[in-house]
Symmetry: C2
């Protein structure tokens, strides 16, 4: 297909497609003359991935580049690529307390979860535990473990539905689902609270 | 206790305590002279509630006032008060598509969840479903229902642990847990994804 069709199929304006080509985020098409080139399905998939990283994930171009390079690196597994994408989605956070860090490490050991030592999620979880303690309502250890087991159950249903027919599609789907399912879970939790509290608290006037 | 102790106990500066008194968010103390008054535990609880609404919930003063008025309204049930607090935590959202609205309404009917027709969470969930459809990866109906049942299980464990010894404490705890447990759930989900994908995808190089 020509550039114009590539733009229409991916929803990315021609000027932006050219920019991604210059930046090396999108591989060149097959030249068919001095100024024309044809593009294939792999270009559509790549552009859709870049748009998801920018529009849904809110990534800056340097972070998009890191993800795209991981996708292109033939020596990395799909798991590694998804790890790069997930890390790019989480902003750098200030250091949590040593106590919360140790609590997170102990939790992951006890659950035997394979989570990289460098994972930014270890920091994010420890920071969130600090915030609850700072608010005077620290999360109990058994509640934390219950949450972890519940989310593991969800992940076991979610991960197998990722389309792994191409790395681009798998990464794109992972980013979209990581980010866009999050508000769904939080909203359902708030609704469930309303429902449960309706049953148990609606006659309490204290 | 005097104003200075009230400030120390609640962590709210004296000038801010005086401001809340003038605004009527904090009831006056018991006058013990022309310029002095003594304060009780109910003032500490009220100040802690206001700080949680502002610092954790990110509420503006008009929204804090709405929550505090609901707490003081003897004719409203604790469930009603928690509903006011929860609504204040959710920003107003643009209208979702009619299709997603209908999908949310049908889900809640099928699950027999008691969620107010006016609940902003209905709008928030419909908007989140729209965002997934816009990203080209609509959420399947069975996945949505699985999420809902999972979050109901969590809520059934969470709501009974709320301390209902006073309305101030119950509202404060609900706000803190609604807001501060959310990043914990999202981070545990991301970690669980890493763990599950490690098992299933680490040898796939496609």
């Amino acid at each position: 297909m020509w550039m114009s069709e590539l733009s229409a199929r991916s929803g990315v304006p021609v000027a932006t497609v050219k920019y991604y080509l210059r930046e090396g985020l999108l591989p060149a098409g097959q030249a068919t003359g001095a100024t024309r080139a044809v593009y294939g399905e792999e270009h559509v998939r790549r552009l859709r991935l870049i748009r998801a990283l920018v529009d849904v994930g809110g990534l800056r171009l340097a972070e998009v580049r890191r993800v795209v390079e991981a996708v292109d690196d033939e020596t990395s597994s799909l798991h590694d690529v998804l790890g790069v994408a997930q890390a790019a989605l989480t902003p750098d956070l200030p250091e949590p307390t040593a106590e919360s860090r140790a609590r997170v490490d102990a939790l992951l050991r006890r659950l035997r979860w394979k989570v990289s030592d460098q994972s930014v999620n270890r920091v994010a979880l420890a920071r969130a535990l600090d915030a609850m303690a700072d608010a005077g309502d620290p999360l109990r250890a058994d509640a934390l473990e219950d949450y972890a087991r519940t989310l593991l159950g969800l992940a076991e249903a979610e991960v197998p539905t990722i389309d792994t027919s191409s790395r681009e599609v798998a990464v794109r789907q992972t980013v979209v689902r990581t980010v866009l399912v999050e508000p769904i879970l939080l909203t359902l939790r708030r609704m469930a609270h309303e429902h449960v509290s309706q049953r148990s608290l609606s006659r309490r006037r204290r």
